[in-house]
Amino acid sequence: MQILNFLKPNRDNIKNYSIIGSFLVLVSFIDVISNAFFKINITSFLPGSLTNLFPLILGFIGLNMMRIDYSGNKNLDLLNKNINTNNFNALLTLLILFSIIKALPQSLSWMILDATISGDSKDACTGTGACWTYIKVWFRRFMYGMYPNEFHWRINTAFILVIALGFVGYFMKENLKKYLALYYVIIYPIIAYLVIYYLISGGSFGLQWVETGAWGGLSLTFIVSFFCLIFCFPLGMIFALGRRSNLPVIKYISICYIEFWRGVPLITVLFMSSVMFPMFLPEDFFMDKLVRVIIAITLFEAAYCAEVIRGGLQSLPRGQYDAAKSLGMGYWKMHIFVILPQALKLVIPGIANTFLALVKDTPLIFVVGLAELAGMLALAKTNPKWLGFAMEGYIFASIVFWIICYAMSKYSYNLEAKYKTER
């Protein structure tokens, strides 16, 4: 019994075991760190692949020794509970930590320590690290595309105006609040369109005309996703209501619409808008490529929106419909004042996901020749003065998109929590 007690870590011999265990773990970490950061192999006396496995084995034994249930030591308990519950977990813990340590020096030196950011031509990048000079020089192009440099303030002003107008709803007076939906669905898109048209396109008020072919970069991504976002929501609502209608014709038209758009990939829709759609327009009627693309994406995303909203409508109990009807409400009154406010609250996460998908889909317009961020990267990559920096470009774009999408998804969690009603 005594021997068993001695061999197995427990509360009686906690002192010895935890000290030996943590020492072994410490040694294993020192080995890995010195290997990764200082290129010193303190276990070079070991044969072959044992050198590489040495810290893993050592750490594993150490963690095994430290695993004492209800040790009474707060920190040790916390450690055991979180990363050291059994042998398998301990091994995974070590593997994750070691691979992070091994990857850290390489990526650090590539991204920061050996990287270059000074200078304004390719010659400045002589180090082995990343060439952020490339991003710095091309930054304005990545943001605004081929839009003339001296007019960039127009894009900025337009965006600030549109965002400010979007917040007007928050500050509306109480007696105007009932027109909030009207404002966001009809008035806001029109104002936003006018602002963007007159400021960014120009052509009047003494502003020079800039054709849409010159628009590009991240600002184009914002413009496309903004318009698709505000148009696809009402359209989706109409088709969601249509799909739940009692009138067979309207119901089947909605079903066909939704299933059609959900069944085809966006890229074919964009192809359609760029090569097939002009054939269907009257001869002397010209529609801008950007407008065509926005219409195509709106129609496409509206189908997804409709399905999400339908989910919300379906999850409302029948009693809500019956109660509204018994108050003498008609179809529209019932939906506007009773059904939709409740249903839309329920579908906030779903709608947020649809919008997120929309933002992530906008780089696809690159396929039909509109140079938003991905398109500008492709352009910059083939520029003979700046060959060979694809990696930096794509990492930069990924970071930008990641921040936007991550912020959006976090915001949707907040909204969801804010509008949550007890049922």
């Binding site: 977990n89 994750i96 069944g263 085809v264 990939p265 090569v275 780089p363 470009g393 998109f401």
Partner: protein, 383 residues
């Protein structure tokens, strides 16, 4: 009377609206095509395509018809979807289970994996793998062998190909194994229902699946040889591997991006499914006396799968549709071969874009129909 008007007026208006739109578009298309001298029709499908495709699963050359080019594209699309679906399922299950781990590090690395890969647009990920990551690979002559026989180079991934002899005997043996497993399963469930006996069914079926095909090697005259890729010098500086199978970098980039991106969504489905089974179920099963393995197999998994499978199928469909992004890096899928090259050559915009869309639509609707049928079947029948 009032009711009838209320019912019929909107419907008639809707029909009129749809008819008007379609009529307007058709008339425009007609006049446009007349003016440009294009005629509508699908005759071009049987004409000679006269373009080459880089990578194809079936025999194809420029002298084949457009219909065959379409088939080449479709097969390439299905190939990339199939490989990606398998990889993303495996990854998704691992990550989904890891997100529920009690280990703080594992849980959080899995969560960050999901947050990272799903918040970057798929197109950028494809570009990253194709233009940045895979371009950093060594040239063929400098490539190291992976597992001794495969070579990852900037020109693609070279793996040994299998040369079979009497393959059909082998396949028959495999088929026989599967049939006998089904028979065994019926027998086992009958034995369990009538006599309450359990036989180690899983062990038996694995044995059958291994032994029967092995027997075909010994007695059926089946043999398998590997053809290894070998380095060959084309000119002074240009080398290439010959023999074996070469997977083009476009395919690898596409599979990597698609499976990493979709695996995050699959992981979320798996997590939701496992979390969706209430704790009481597990406790109840344990209190009836089932072993932990039986609890997992007979109680948890059937319920979790019911939650997991429908949204996961949706993700597979999304993946198949997303594989059309292949066109951006010139992987010869349906969109690139048909809606790209073939459209350029024939100029039949309406026909080709409609065929492409209808193909995707057919795939989606077929899978959706199967899913609906499956959902009805596994639905919990409540009173």
């Amino acid at each position: 009377m009032n009711n009838i008007i209320k019912k019929f007026i909107p419907q008639i208006l809707a029909i009129l609206f749809v008819v008007l739109i379609f009529g307007f578009l058709t008339i425009n298309a007609q006049t446009n095509m007349d003016n440009r001298g294009i005629d509508f029709g699908f005759d071009f499908l049987s004409q000679e395509s006269s373009f080459d495709v880089q990578f194809s699963l079936i025999e194809y050359s420029g002298s084949d018809s457009y219909a065959r080019a379409f088939l080449v594209g479709l097969l390439n699309t299905l190939l990339v979807s199939f490989i990606s679906i398998i990889i993303c399922t495996i990854l998704g299950i691992i990550i989904g289970v890891a997100r529920l781990s009690s280990n703080y590090l594992i849980k959080n690395s899995a969560a960050w994996y999901v947050e990272f890969f799903r918040n970057i647009p798929l197109l950028l990920q494809i570009f990253f793998w194709y233009y940045a990551a895979l371009r950093a690979l060594p040239m063929p002559e400098k490539a190291n062998a992976w597992f001794g026989v495969t070579y990852m180079t900037v020109k693609g991934y070279y793996i040994p190909s299998m040369v079979w002899q009497n393959l059909n005997v082998f396949l028959y043996c495999g088929l026989a194994a599967i049939v006998s497993i089904i028979v065994l399963k019926n027998y086992a469930s009958k034995l369990r229902d009538t006599q309450g006996k359990q036989i180690p069914f899983f062990l038996y079926s694995v044995t059958l699946l291994v032994v029967l095909p092995l027997l075909s090697f010994l007695f059926g005259g089946v043999s398998l040889e590997f053809e290894l890729p070998e380095l060959k010098k084309l000119s002074k500086i240009s080398y290439i591997y010959e023999g074996g199978i070469s997977l083009p970098p476009e395919l690898i980039a596409l599979v990597l991006a698609l499976s990493l991106y979709t695996s995050t969504f699959v992981a979320e489905c798996v997590r939701a499914g496992i979390e969706g089974v209430t704790k009481g179920q597990k406790e109840a099963a344990a209190s009836v006396g089932l072993t932990p393995n039986q609890v997992l197999k007979l109680v948890i998994m059937p319920q979790a799968l019911r939650i997991i499978i429908p949204p996961t199928t949706n993700q597979y469909l999304n993946l198949t549709k997303n594989s059309s992004l292949a066109a951006a890096i010139a992987y010869p899928d349906l969109v690139l071969v048909f809606a790209g090259t073939a459209l350029m050559q024939t100029g039949k915009a309406i026909e080709i874009v409609s065929i492409t869309m209808l193909t995707y639509l057919t795939i989606s609707l077929t899978i959706a129909a199967i899913m609906n049928w499956y959902n009805k079947k596994i639905e919990i029948k409540e009173k």
